[in-house]
Amino acid sequence: MEIIKTDVAVLGAGGAGLRAAIALAETRPSLKIALVSKVYPMRSHTCAAEGGAAGVIKSDDSLDHHFHDTVGGGDWLSDQDAVDYFIREAPKELLQLEHWGCPWSREANGSVAVRPFGGMKKQRTWFAADKSGFHILHTLFQTSLKFPSIQRFDEYYVTDLIVEDDHCRGFTAIEMRSGQMKFIRADAVIIAGGGAGRMFPFTTNGAIKTGDGMALAYRAGVALKDMEFVQYHPTGLPNTGTLLTEACRGEGGILVNKNGRRFLQDYGMGPETPVGQPVLKTMELGPRDRVSQAFWHEQKKGNMVPTRWGDCMMLDLRHLGEKKINERLPLVRDMATSYLGVDPVTDPVPVRPVVHYMMGGIDTDIKAATSLKGLYAAGECACVSINGANRLGSNSLTELLVFGRRAALSALEHLDRGAGAANEAAVTAGANAAQARLRELFNRTGGTETIAGVRKEMMATMEEHAGIYRSGEGLQKACATLSALRKRYARIELHDKTNVYNTDLLQALELGAMLDCAEAVTVSALERRESRGAHQRLDFIARDDQKYLRHSLARYRGDHPPEIGYSDVVITRSPPGVRDYSGDKSAGEQK
């Protein structure tokens, strides 16, 4: 096995991975950086983010507002010291992107424009039309080409972290084009592998979002934190799950049921605001968890519009007019028109909630460090946590940048302190063992299970039992099913036993990662006997701060289900309060 020696290895070349690599190269030009990704950087799923990135820049806004919006939006499960760090760094990072050429939309006077987003008291979402993530990703990717010290390993699938004496010493990866295994040996590793939305059948997430980074850290002994919090985005196209950005509502779009009623007013987000004049933090600009939950209740009441893809609510943008839609929401128009045959300029678009984002992930501290020495994580795969029980729209793009950079700085500090001499024989033995495990999967014969079969059952289980509303009974079933599926996974056999670009093998490995993540989600969800943010239990409908104002930590136990532990939430200046998204601002809004 070829050994590639480098100083820092970054796993994942989306927003967080690229930001980390650039920070490393800028801060320490002499450093050798390996940027390893299973896809070419510009294919990373950051490109699909539409609405924008939050950062305080306008004079009527304040860091305090951003802090309280984020903490309240997260139902007080966010670590407030981390949120403070995040909001302070946010504007700097967005400005840095501007300096690197990001084509942010502009005000008439030439300053950067901001737009309203759900759950926000002020307008603070920087945007580049409705392709903000795309522009952020390409700006970062193109900027990264400036730095000769960033050596890219495109289309390498990482199979195992190599841990020796509680230190992460690199990872093994398959080069897709040759099928060869390589050992990327580094004393500091940053995981930026993205989310795991693909464990669900109906998701905005691209095919590549299979929780690989999460699973790697999990299996190496790092806990997965708050995995039960899975965000549904309220407005996905009902057939493909394609995202129609929250900016649709930020720009003034409304949601109505089959009777034409703006039903959010019946779920604590009223009173009704005038059509086309969105009021911040109320009605259609409520947070994603609340809007998706309101959909669920309306559906139960039979108030939704039946379509061949299931019940839908209607997203009405017609009053915005063609000019504004073309200027601010061109992608939305294109997607709705081409994939659904509905032009938002002339007709309301049927939409339904769709799995969008994992609040949970690899347990890191405020410096993006994990419990394993030399291992850092950032982006959707990580859980710092600033997002708590429900992420506010447009905080995630900023999070990539802030904590991507933070992970890079922490990795540098780690190297500067001295990573300690490794027992190279043990390290190599670890890499060889990883290769042997892969060989076993590759050469396995007499398997009785198929990838597609196991994957289908996993998705069905997640959809049925780990959706917007959950119950103890359902979650118990899901845990049992996933446990059984993990055993069956050990009996799958590859159809394709060739080396070059073997996507059968790739999908098998991705499925393994998703199964591990899915089990962490359902077991964490079963153990959290309360309703908070995106985790809603029909059998425990209230938030229970006494018992559960804590992060859940799922620890890997091999073939057994994970062990669930808890850690404290850092509360500095905002004690848990009531999440108020009614228009009535006298009702004791959280300061």
Binding site: R43, A48, K92, Q96, H99, R106, K131, D496, Y501
Partner: protein, 247 residues
């Protein structure tokens, strides 16, 4: 549940077992609203797990799934089955070596992209504390269209020039250089000219215009390349006829 059986004829090639590509037929039960990518996914999941191709976002923004569909470069996620009749022939993007099945080797594009310096080169570096560079909506609009390139490389597959002269830097890379040249915050044009105004750059382009016709994001690379030609010509005249007036 299916509404239509679609016949796909897919190019297969595995360098370990095949000396040259062959075509394989699949009968795929499809829904009318499906795209070719959905049909391929059905093949992969239910008929033949050995088929290899790239895809991710299914919303025409990641640029992974460029393929030749009935001889035309297309994103498989935006090639609607309703627009095709009869057998649909699916091949890897033209002009790129075939790594396996529908997966091509794109090293050439990636190298060329890096060569044209597609990043902002400001006159002088400003600290972040200095705040944003001001840019009017008009200045933004001047280059905005060229930022929309998703690097799907359909333009390279459509460009006969690139097929005949592989050293041609090609539509997408030159367009991205032009994107930065036109950005009011940038001062790096001269550095980029060395690459894009060379023989391997715009002068290899004979303005067939196919790149712009196939571009799924309406970036209009052909337009960008002609503009680079005009500006380079103006440069030349300034240099040779008006010495001393040099930029």
């Amino acid at each position: 549940m299916s509404e239509r059986i679609v016949e796909l004829e897919v190019l297969r090639f595995n360098p370990e077992t095949d000396s040259e590509p062959r075509f394989q037929r699949y009968s795929v039960p499809c829904m009318n609203e499906w795209v070719v990518l959905d049909a391929l996914n059905h093949v992969k999941e239910s008929i033949d797990p050995t088929l290899s191709y790239r895809w991710s976002c299914h919303m025409a923004v990641c640029g992974s799934c460029g393929m030749m569909i009935n001889g035309e470069p297309k994103l498989a996620c935006k090639a609607f089955l309703r627009e095709y009749e009869g057998v649909i022939r699916v091949e890897p993007l033209a002009h790129f070596p075939i790594q396996r099945d529908l997966v091509t080797v794109i090293d050439d594009f990636v190298t060329k992209l890096k060569r044209v310096k597609p990043y902002l080169i400001p006159k002088e570096d400003q600290p972040v504390e200095a705040g944003e560079f001001w840019q009017s909506p008009a200045e933004l609009k001047r280059y905005k269209q060229y930022t929309l390139c998703i690097n799907c490389m359909l333009c390279y597959a459509a460009c006969p020039e690139y097929g005949l002269v592989p050293k041609f830097i090609g539509p997408a890379a030159i367009t991205l250089a032009h994107r930065y040249n036109e950005d009011s915050r940038d001062s790096g044009r001269e550095e980029r000219q060395q690459e894009i105004a060379s023989n391997e750059g715009v002068w290899e382009c004979s303005f067939v215009g196919a790149c712009s016709e196939v571009c799924p994001e309406h970036v209009d690379p052909a337009g960008a390349l002609q503009q680079v030609k005009i500006k380079s010509t103006v440069d030349w005249y300034q240099e040779h006829l008006l010495p001393g007036s040099k930029k």
